[in-house]
Structure formats: structure tokens, C-alpha cells
Symmetry: C2
Subunit: 350 residues, 2 copies
């Protein structure tokens, strides 16, 4: 059975929300789990769930208490005494804190006792420990973060959304291969359409990197379904399945989108609190607003996939609550079962 | 009196909406205007406004017909027989079409008969003709586009938002100087806070360009109010007045924001059309939604300023209607009157 290692100590709400979300996922989707971190703290949360179930106020989750029969779940705890904090330099931290939850969790994947790791702590530490602990897939120069975004149609993958600030065209080409395998095997796109994130449609547009990547993808022999440049505003139309860019541009785009959306939602709340009549209208409009929030809520995707390492690493938002972790663990399970890494390797063996 | 040259032929709705918007601005703000383009077409729209006034369905504009006493306005028409189309290569086009509306309008500024130009056609052609027709300000390597964005507090300037895809740290430093002068003199910020658009707070974060620009700004001797790195999601908090980045990153961010916001508004419309009850709630919520749209509507700012040339060039969205053009012309007038270029030059003379 697939076993997923959970860095129980990483994230703003660790270990409580992390452990709860993972138990919830095991209960719903059926697989085995390995909690990595401080045993007593993990055990405390497991006991709590055993007695009280899980309560969440996430609008996408079912209302009320979710009862979980913990005794029937396949749970293992692997002790790890240290925690890497958000501010630490990742490279140094993983060398110094060999008994940190993230390093030990990645080791569980490296030794084969687990097939994937889910981490909501320092993104840098998750990347560094995966890169050094698991190694790269053959043919891949640098692992990249693949983030799933909602669109007007089906979700789109933005790769790289933050792992590599300085990229070469070859790297972007590899991101296209990895993103395509992800889209096809995990998200079920038949023939994923790949676009280069750029500032205009024509091949000659953009910076040197985007131009060179466009050229490489156009000349490609790997059967990728390259559709040309994609502008920022087109990401959300849903007419492209994989948007390729360097990690600096991808991360800026991702966070700008996050910032703009959050401003709009805040303004909506402000307007609906303006005066008594607006408040009544706001109450009436609540369910419509909830449905929209549901469609665009990052927690539905739960985590981004670090692609290009020999193993599955899912990186969750630091502020993740149980519902987001549950979905992140689901993504990890789907990535394992769809054998996405094997599919990536086939591009290079083929 | 300040005279503003209008490229009457550029934009999706030229010349009608362009001429109407400019007449509206002159009527409201009082200055002189020079319409550049096909005389008969411009005259036709002026006659139409004379007889019928201006009607607009922009939600931010006053309802009904706006009567404009054209006879009292200081209007000049400068004939130009050609038009540069959106698809044309800017450099070639401005050399080949010497009698195009944008080239002739920029010439009006170069010769001093006008003090600013407003253009809603090809951004590339507006940049190229301004660069070659007006020349650069002393000390400025490359002109940059400064776009004004709404935030939770007062507007922020994103510079460069599309003029230069490949930049040096020196260029980003110059963008900071220009953006600061714009924020101070046109938008009235007392001591504009400048940030480098980056993917983390720490100085060591980001790509080589962002790191080097951060270092230069930190060491600066020009009295700029540098506050460090700014992440995409922080742009909209309103705690920074000028966000500096290369034109590729800036344009991707801008268009991603545009795409995400437009998706959210579309989803809101969909939800309010879902069933009869939702439709009633949608009608009730209409004025709240309008107020939000008003706060974030790009048409309020009308146009982005091309900074770094010896003259004022305001670049409007291709899809601009009269209301956006009116505001773009207002921005041009404010830029002239605040002597923003003189203030930029003072940094170098200082």
C-alpha cells in the first residue's frame, strides 16, 4: 500500500492542523501514513482526533464534526527531534539539522518506506532536502515547483512557480516536459497544451529567456503539444494546460494574483459592511460569494508538486489548515499512483 | 496654455471614443488640444459631439448625455494621413510611416507646439516614436512605462510595466528615480516608498537582477526612500508607493492581475445568473459591485506614463473608451503641470 510521509512539524499550524488533515485524508482516501516529528506532540493530536474528531470552518468542507475511526488507520510515527524554522537558510539548515522532521521525512521516501512526502514548512528546506535526499530524475537539470491554478475551465499548471530564480532555456524546456506529464497523468488532460509565459503572442516577444525557450519548444522532437506564447491575462481563460516560466517570474505572477484576489475579496467584504442595507444584501449574497471562493480557493489544490526529484514531494502553503493538508495529501497519493515520475523519465528514455 | 496632442487614430475605438474623451477632458479641466489624424474623420466626431454631446455607459461616469460647448474649446487639428496598426513592428513602422498620427503627434511635442501626447494605439509605436522623436532625459538609459494600480490605500506605481524586457540593475535604479518623481509630483506622495519587486523579503532573495538592484538602491546617495523588497501579494496592501522591476516581470504581473480580476468578476456574474433567486440577489448587490469595480477600474487612471523621454507620453489601453481617454488626458495634463521631467533631471544635476 502507498505510504505517505508527513512533515508533522512544518507550517504555521503544526502539528495540530497537519496531523488532522493527514488523518482526514487517510480516512477518506485509504492509504498508509508516516508522521515524522515529535512523537508526543503527534500522539497528542491523534488522541484528540480519536476522541473529538475533526472540526473545520473551511467553507468547502462538510459542516460539523467529522468522526474518524483512528484505530482502523495504518499509522506509523517516525521520531524527529528538530524543526527547521521559516527564516533559516535552507542549504545550511538541512546539513545542520539532520534530525529535523523534513530531512527525516524525505529520508523515508529515499529508503522506500514511504512513497511521497507532504510538507507545509519552509519551501526552501523542502526543496533542498528533496534535491539532496532523493536526487534528480535523469535528464532533469533542476527540480521545479508546479502550482495548480483555477481557471474559467479546468485547472492550469504554472511551472516553475518559485524553485529557480535564474533559468536557462533548457530548464524551461524540461519544465514543459514535467508539467505535461503532470497534467496528463495527474490531472487527466489528454494532450496537454503547453505555453510559454510571455508578454505578447509573437515568437519575437519577451526577454531573451522566453524567446529562446519558445524556439526550443517549437523545434522539439518529444511530441509536446506546444501552443506558443501565453500572456498573463490568458492564464485564467483555461485554454492552456501548462504555463512554463522561470521561477522568479512564476512566483511574482502567483503572488501578484494572490494579492489582487485578496484585495478584491476584502473590498467586497467592506462594501457589504458599509451600512445596514448593504449588510442585509451581503447576507443574501453570501452563498454566491462562497461558491466563487470555493472555485478559486487554493486549499482545493492543497499543495504544489516539486517535480524533477526521484520521489514525490508536495509543498503546501505555510498557512495551511487541515482541509488544505487533506487535499495536499490527496495530490501526493495521486502523483504516486499515476507514476508521474516514470512518465517523465520515459521522455528521456523514449 | 498647456496643449496636449492626441493621436486620434490609435486604439480599438478610434477616432470616435478618442476624440470624445479628449473633448470631455478639455471641457472639464480646461486646456488646449491638438487632434492628430485624418481631418475629416476627426471633424465628423467633433460635429457629432457639438450636436449630440457625449453618451457613455461607463459606470464611473455621470448618467445621461454630457453637453459640451465645443465652440468655446481651444481645438486644433493637425492632419496625418497614415495609421500604424497593432501588428506592425514598431521600429520599422515609425520609419516607414512618417505621416502616421503617432509620429506626427510626437513631433508636435518635439517642436514645442504641444506639451504632451496621449496615444491608445500600438504601445510599441508610441514608445519608439517618443524615444526617437523626443530623445531621452539626461542620465536615463531607457524610458520605462509607469502604470498606476489601485490598492487598499492609495495607488501604487509599477515601473517598468512593459517597455524593457531585458534590464540592468542601473536601469532599475533609474526606474526608481523616475517612479519616485512621478509619485511625489503627480500623485502627491510626500516621501515615496520604493520597493524592488521580488520573491522574498531578504536582500539575498530573487534573481541576479533583483539582487543587484536591491544592493544599488540600498547604497544609493540620491535620497530615495528605499524600503527593500516587495512581494507580489504586498503590491496591493498600499504600503509601498513605487514598485520597481524589469519590464518583462512587470508586464507579466500586470496582465496576470488583469486576468485574475477579470476571472473573479466573470465568476461573480455567473453566480448571480445561476437561478431566479440569485438574479434577484445580484440585482440587489449591483450597487456594491459597482462601487468595487469603480475602485479597481483601470479606466480611472486612464493611461500609463512613459517616463524618461524629453516630453510627456501617456499610453492608454487599446480598448479605451471615452471615459478612459478623458482620464488619460487628465494624467497628461497633471504630468505637464507638475513638471515631472524637470524633477527627474534634478536628481542628475543635484
Amino acid at each position: 500500500m502507498t505510504r505517505i510521509a508527513i512533515d508533522a512539524m512544518g507550517g504555521d499550524h503544526a502539528p495540530d492542523e497537519i496531523v488532522k488533515g493527514a488523518l482526514w485524508a487517510v480516512f477518506d482516501y485509504g492509504f498508509a501514513i508516516d508522521f515524522v516529528g515529535k512523537e508526543d506532540e503527534i500522539q497528542r493530536v491523534i488522541n484528540d482526533v480519536k476522541q473529538n474528531g475533526i472540526r473545520t470552518n473551511n467553507i468547502n468542507a462538510p459542516k460539523g464534526r467529522i468522526r474518524i475511526d483512528v484505530s482502523k488507520l495504518d499509522i506509523k510515527i517516525t521520531p524527529a527531534s528538530e524543526v527547521i524554522e521559516m527564516g533559516e537558510a535552507p542549504g545550511q539548515a538541512i546539513r545542520k539539522k539532520k534530525d529535523s522532521s523534513i530531512v527525516v521525512a524525505v529520508k523515508a521516501v529515499a529508503t522506500g518506506s514511504s512513497q511521497a512526502v507532504v510538507a507545509a514548512g519552509s519551501t526552501g528546506a523542502a526543496m533542498a532536502s528533496s534535491l539532496f535526499g532523493l536526487g534528480r530524475l535523469p535528464g532533469i537539470e533542476r527540480p521545479a515547483i508546479a502550482t495548480t491554478l483555477p481557471t474559467m475551465k479546468k485547472p492550469v499548471i504554472l511551472i516553475d512557480s518559485g524553485a529557480n530564480s535564474n533559468c536557462t532555456p533548457e530548464m524551461l524546456y524540461q519544465f514543459a516536459i514535467m508539467g505535461s506529464a503532470f497534467s496528463k497523468n495527474v490531472l487527466g488532460s489528454e494532450n496537454p497544451r503547453i505555453g510559454v509565459l510571455n508578454i505578447g503572442e509573437e515568437a519575437g516577444k519577451g526577454n531573451e529567456l522566453a524567446q529562446a525557450a519558445h524556439k526550443m519548444l517549437e523545434e522539439n522532437k518529444d511530441g509536446l503539444n506546444f501552443i506558443g506564447n501565453v500572456e498573463g491575462k490568458e492564464i485564467f481563460l483555461g485554454d492552456c494546460d501548462v504555463v512554463v516560466c522561470d521561477g522568479f517570474v512564476g512566483n511574482v505572477a502567483l503572488k501578484s494574483i494572490e494579492g489582487a484576489s485578496s484585495m478584491l475579496f476584502k473590498m467586497i467584504m467592506q462594501e457589504f459592511k458599509r451600512d445596514p442595507i448593504s449588510m442585509v444584501i451581503g447576507l443574501l449574497a453570501k452563498s454566491a460569494m462562497k461558491r466563487i471562493f470555493k472555485r478559486v480557493n487554493y486549499e482545493e489544490f492543497g499543495g504544489a508538486l516539486l517535480l524533477g526529484v526521484k520521489g514525490i514531494t508536495v509543498i503546501s502553503h505555510g498557512r495551511s489548515m487541515a482541509y488544505a493538508i487533506k487535499n495536499a495529501v490527496r495530490v501526493a497519493k495521486e502523483a504516486v499512483e499515476s507514476e508521474v515520475n516514470k512518465k517523465i523519465s520515459e521522455f528521456y528514455e523514449g
